[in-house]
Subunit: 170 residues, 2 copies
DNA sequence: TAACGCATGTAATACGTTACATGATTCT
DNA sequence: AGAATCATGTAACGTATTACATGCGTTA
């Protein structure tokens, strides 16, 4: 379970409300991790019960500002340094690109063309985002979120084109 | 939910038992999808109840050989062609590489060095595997499983080296 | 005949998504 | 006053992991 560590990391950078956390997940972390508010609020309650986060203020509309405690910081360090990363994760795109070869060439081409369109748009968006990050001087962890999370290896664009071409030769 | 479609795809390629399916997931598909037998057996039962797979034979040790029905093939086609891929998936590696910047340089270096070691080994294994696939004439979907699933963009190796170097300069 | 690998299943628990529900503040 | 957005929560359901449990067939 790494939702809690994502939360600890975000709040460690900057305290905030559950609502803000939800937005950060959607914005800066959306390619690497996703979590909706219905998961975040209960998780914050659990983290508080375990002493890993605490409320450091209350704002308008019943909002609470959460921050990481020392124990929380230590838990994040422990997770990063002492636990084995789970490398075997699900990748629906890889599964789909694997299974698409079960389709007849015509149908396969339709699917691959949709994928190509998506991947090209995503690559362009990523390029723009990368420039933005550069301009804002944001380095560090933003790069891997962009590169690993987007999962659009440019080399695969060529592969997609070849496969589309191949469906025309059969 | 795509476990069922992974199963339909595998059985569509070649009928087999639940046990064999588990192994195929571990071997050819491990980078793209993972499923253990405790998930696969109930799923086969459900798929049978829905008429998407059927038992076409029984072997020693109570083993059953499953195959996809016509309805199953159609369901796979429908999923590939008519459903929107879920692109927002979790990537623990990206999350870790993002959060590692919360650590002190010394600790960060230790983590990044472990990551580099893993990634270099994985890249080498992938190279060997790619050659094997080539030699066996396995093309098609195996390439994306290798490339997308492994999630080790070679460009990120350089990035890791830079970040490790950077921890020494502070 | 004992150990090992093949083969299948269930139960308990944890995690994630979608839907439901409600109240506070701001903007038009 | 009404709509939109901020803000928090719970419930129901579906999916995934880990642990438990058992029997068959082969090989040493």
């Amino acid at each position: 379970m790494s939702l809690r560590h994502a939360v600890l990391g975000m709040l460690g950078q900057q305290p905030g409300s559950g609502y803000e956390l939800t937005q950060w997940f959607d914005r800066s972390l959306s390619h690497a991790w996703h979590a909706s508010h219905s998961q975040i609020y209960p998780e914050l309650a659990k983290l508080e019960a375990e002493g890993l986060v605490e409320v450091i203020g209350e704002g308008p509309r019943r909002s609470k500002t959460w921050a990481v405690t020392q124990a929380g910081r230590e838990e994040l360090r422990r997770w990063l340094m002492e636990t084995e990363p789970n490398r075997a994760q699900r990748n629906e795109t890889a599964l789909r690109w694997f299974l698409v070869f079960r389709l007849e060439p015509e149908q396969r081409r339709a699917v691959l063309e949709r994928e190509l369109a998506f991947v090209e748009t995503a690559a362009e968006q990523r390029r723009v985002l990368a420039e933005q990050l550069d301009a804002e001087g944001k380095t560090g962890g933003f790069r891997p979120v962009l590169e690993l999370g987007a999962r659009v290896d440019p080399a695969m664009i060529g592969w997609l084109r070849e496969q589309i071409e191949a469906t025309r030769r059969t």
